[in-house]
């Protein structure tokens, strides 16, 4: 936008634009405020308890240069992606398999819902016992944590599809497979993306927690290793990197959502 345009905007401020502008300024101000608070807090609490943000930034730069950080990020992202893919796959496929079997669905639904309540992180010791200390126990953890939100969203989505659209498609000659693919799958996109916004960050944090306990690579290992060596700056570095990763993943997801679901009538400038 040229300066000429912005001058025009100021001359005739449209309330919506002005509000968006205010939100952006507010966001930046809040970020600065948080950084200042972090710095002040670090100075007061001392380097053992809270790392200095400037040192954390330095550490990120040096570890990136040495390739160490990249390696940990790669290991964590790789596991998150595989675990996510497995959990997501079953979360999508299972409800579709259950769709033509309403009686079976009714019978097992309470058990599925009850299993939602099991604290998955508490299963890590069992996973280690059953699946060893390689990637397997971590994949189980990530897969389960991703599976539930996706499964519940798809399950609810299938139930809530507009019957009239399904009937219409049937009258037009669509087979059940086409109805699943076209009517149901598209109808539940909004719910599916809402679930992904929960599941994707979960996949990353579950991987990190898995790495605390098993293995000698990844961001989780890096954080835990730093803690054991009283390297608070290392711990903070890991947390900051993990947070940035999750934010980046979410930003990509929001982009995809906007692209794929442009047909939705509501204008959604909320990007959470």
């Amino acid at each position: 936008m040229t300066t000429h345009d912005s001058a025009l905007d100021l001359a005739q401020p449209s309330p919506v634009k002005w509000r968006q502008y205010a939100v952006t300024v507010g966001r930046i101000a809040l970020a600065v405020l948080l950084l200042v608070a972090w710095k002040l807090g670090a100075d007061r609490a001392g380097p053992i308890y809270v790392a200095d943000p400037i040192l954390v930034f330095d550490r990120i730069v040096t570890d990136t240069m040495s390739g160490e950080l990249i390696r940990h990020i790669y290991v964590t992202l790789r596991l998150s992606a595989i675990g996510f893919a497995i959990g997501c796959f079953f979360g999508i496929v299972l409800p579709f398999l259950l769709r033509p079997l309403p009686r079976l669905t009714n019978a097992i639904e309470p058990y599925i819902m009850a299993s939602v309540g099991i604290p998955k992180y508490a299963l890590i010791p069992l996973f280690i016992l059953w699946f060893g200390i390689d990637d397997a126990p971590k994949l189980w953890l990530v897969g389960l944590l991703v599976f539930y939100p996706v499964f519940i969203a798809i399950f609810a989505g299938i139930r809530n599809v507009d019957r009239r659209l399904i009937n219409m498609a049937r009258v037009l000659g669509a087979s059940e497979a086409m109805i699943s693919r076209e009517v149901i799958w598209n109808s539940l996109q909004p719910l599916f993306f809402a679930a992904l916004k929960i599941a994707l960050p979960r996949a990353v944090s579950a991987t990190i927690i898995g790495e605390f306990l098993v293995g000698n690579e990844g961001l989780g290992f890096m954080i835990e290793y730093s803690r054991q060596n009283f390297d608070t700056t290392g711990v903070f570095t890991g947390i900051v990197v993990a947070t940035v990763l999750v934010l980046l993943i979410n930003a990509v997801l929001v982009r995809i959502d906007h692209r794929l679901n442009a047909w939705r009538p509501t204008d959604r400038d909320m990007e959470l």
């Binding site: 498609a169 049937r170 669509a174 047909w263």
Partner: protein, 265 residues
């Protein structure tokens, strides 16, 4: 009717299962009988709540009858057996529902092509037909708009040609113009008559608007309040092609209107 009926409804009944707190189940339709000849434009009027939509749902086989018989050509519809339903009778019965039921994630053109895609009949010829229909009903320029970007009248047109595009021999219409303003409705009624003159399909058109029933139909059935049955039958011997505006001043129209009015409770 001297012609062999294409569709025959005999003693049709429909009741919905009783809910807790109600003694007996509610019959929406009971002992309903009529027949439709090939190429006929039949209109059905009745008070709201007289089971008109339910009737069409049963003919289209997206809902199951509780009693009676429905014959289409030589096949009969299943009774009390929802699993045996064949919605749309293998694309031989088209259904323009009260709501447009367009797929919100498909553009106008994609919605119109949808039946051709699912029937595996999308080719250059059918695509050209779809484009011709889009132009005929004045949707040119809106092919790439999503349903929420169209007006109510445009959505109605899109849903109408979505059914016309695959050319089913019978089309059911459930108050397709009910929610529109009078002007748009007249335009669409004229469009429909034009399209019907092109293809001469069998149409069963349900409405609560007596004027519309007379203006469009060859014959009008009047239904009673629930449980619905036929209260009267009127041959509409107005000449075609018809001019919707001109009809209103026709004395024959007024006479028919009066007769039907008295039967609609």
């Amino acid at each position: 009717m001297n012609a062999q009926p294409l569709l025959e409804v005999q003693g049709l009944g429909k009741r919905f299962a009783s809910r807790a707190g109600r003694d007996s189940s509610l019959w929406v339709i009971r002992d309903l009988s009529f027949s439709v000849a090939d190429g006929e434009f039949l209109t059905i009027v009745g008070p709201s709540g007289s089971g008109k939509t339910t009737l069409l749902n049963m003919i289209a086989q997206i809902d199951v009858a509780s009693g009676g018989e429905v014959h289409f050509q030589s096949e009969s519809a299943p009774i009390n057996d929802p699993k045996a339903l064949n919605p749309g009778l293998s694309c031989r019965i088209g259904y323009v529902t009260q709501e447009d039921n367009l797929l919100p994630w498909r553009t106008t053109l994609q919605n119109v092509l949808f039946p051709l895609v699912v029937q595996g009949r999308l080719n250059d010829e059918t695509r050209a037909r779809a484009e011709m229909l889009i132009r005929t009903v004045g949707l040119a320029g809106f092919e790439n708009h999503y349903p929420h970007e169209l007006s109510g009248g445009m959505r109605k047109r899109a849903s109408l040609i979505r059914t016309l595009v695959y050319d089913p021999p019978v089309i059911l219409m459930d108050e397709p113009f009910g929610a529109l303003d009078a002007q748009t409705r007249t335009v669409l009624q004229e469009d429909l008559l034009k399209l019907w003159n092109l293809g001469r399909k069998t149409i069963i058109f349900v409405t609560h608007d007596i004027g519309e029933a007379i203006a469009l139909g060859d014959r009008t059935l009047v239904l009673t309040r629930a449980p619905a049955r036929v209260a009267g039958e009127h041959k509409i011997d107005l000449p075609r092609p018809r001019n919707i505006h001109g009809l209103l001043t026709d004395p024959k129209f007024g006479e028919l209107y009066q007769r039907i009015r008295e039967q609609v409770q």
